[in-house]
C-alpha cells in the first residue's frame, strides 16, 4: 500500500482535536435551538403579522363578502 502521510496527519488531527469539534457541536446545537424557536414563534403569529401588514397598508383583514347586498347569493351555485 502506498504511504500517504497527509492521511496520517488527518487521522492524528481527528483524535487530537475531538474536544474542539464537540465544543463547536454544542454551539451549533444552541444556534439551531434559537433558530427553531424563532421559526416556531414566527409560524405561530404569521397570520397576525400578515393581518397587521394588511391593516397598515389600508386594507381590511376580513375576507371580502361574495354575497349580494340583500343577502342572496351572487351566483346560483354559491351557498
Amino acid at each position: 500500500m502506498r504511504i500517504n502521510n497527509f492521511k496520517e496527519l488527518e487521522r492524528e488531527q481527528i483524535v487530537q482535536y475531538e474536544k474542539n469539534t464537540e465544543k463547536v457541536h454544542r454551539s451549533i446545537s444552541s444556534n439551531v435551538g434559537i433558530l427553531s424557536f424563532i421559526g416556531d414563534i414566527f409560524e405561530l403569529y404569521l397570520s397576525r403579522i400578515f393581518g397587521l401588514f394588511v391593516s397598515a397598508t389600508g386594507g381590511s383583514p376580513k375576507a371580502p363578502d361574495n354575497r349580494s347586498d340583500n343577502g342572496r347569493p351572487k351566483y346560483p351555485n354559491t351557498l
Partner: protein
C-alpha cells in the same frame, strides 16, 4: 421545537446510510439528528483543514461553526451532482481562503502568481516525495506554506480530488490548477530542504 424533540420521539436512525441518503432524509424530515450524523462523519476532517489553513484553534472553531451552519441552512440546495464530501470541502476551502484574504490580504491568495521562475520542465517533483514526508515534518512545512498552496496540496493529497474537481471548487481552469499544484510542490520541496537541510 418539535424538530429538536423529533429524535427522542422516533425510532433510532440508521447510521449506515450514505451521505447523500442522509441529506435526502434530512430534507424530507427536517430532523437535526440526520445533520448530526454528517457532523460526526466530517467535523474532525473539516476542523483539521481549517486548522491547517488558519493556524489558530480559535479561528478554526469559528470557521467550522460558520461552515456547518452554512451547510445546515443550505442542505436543501444540495443538488447531488457531486459527492456530499466534495461539496462540504469546497465550502470549507473557499471559506478558509476567504478568511485569510480578509485577514491578511495575503497576496498569494489574492492574485495568481504568474511568474515563471520555477517553471522549468525538469523540476517535476514526485508525488511520493510529498506523501512520504513524515508527519512531524509535514506539519512544520504546512505551517510555513502560504494558505493557497497549503489548500491545494491538501485537496490533492489528503482528499484525493482530481484536477477537474479542484478546478470546479476553485473556479479556475484545469491548466491553472495544474500549474498551482506544481508551484505548491516546488515551494514544499524548497521549504523541506531549507528547514531540514541539516538532517538530510
Amino acid at each position: 421545537m418539535i424538530n429538536l424533540l423529533y429524535p427522542l420521539l422516533t425510532k433510532e436512525i440508521p447510521t449506515d446510510l450514505s451521505d447523500e441518503d442522509v441529506v435526502k432524509e434530512f430534507v424530507l424530515s427536517n430532523n437535526v439528528a440526520f445533520f448530526d450524523i454528517l457532523y460526526k462523519r466530517y467535523s474532525g476532517k473539516v476542523f483539521g483543514k481549517c486548522l491547517s489553513i488558519l493556524k489558530s484553534e480559535n479561528e478554526a472553531e469559528d470557521a467550522m461553526q460558520e461552515i456547518f451552519m452554512k451547510i445546515l441552512l443550505n442542505l436543501s440546495k444540495f443538488s447531488g451532482r457531486s459527492k456530499f464530501s466534495t461539496w462540504l470541502y469546497s465550502i470549507t476551502y473557499n471559506y478558509c481562503i476567504d478568511s485569510i484574504r480578509r485577514r491578511k490580504k495575503d497576496k498569494s491568495v489574492l492574485v495568481d502568481d504568474m511568474s515563471s521562475e520555477h517553471d522549468s520542465a525538469d523540476d517535476d517533483i514526485e508525488d511520493r516525495f510529498i506523501m512520504e514526508t513524515n508527519v512531524k515534518r509535514l506539519k512544520v512545512i504546512l505551517e510555513e506554506l502560504p494558505a493557497a498552496d497549503k489548500a491545494i496540496l491538501l485537496m490533492k493529497y489528503q482528499d484525493d480530488f482530481s484536477i477537474r474537481e479542484i478546478s470546479g471548487m476553485l473556479d479556475k481552469s484545469e491548466s491553472a490548477v495544474k500549474m498551482k499544484i506544481k508551484r505548491a510542490k516546488q515551494k514544499f520541496k524548497k521549504l523541506h530542504s531549507e528547514i531540514f537541510k541539516n538532517t538530510l
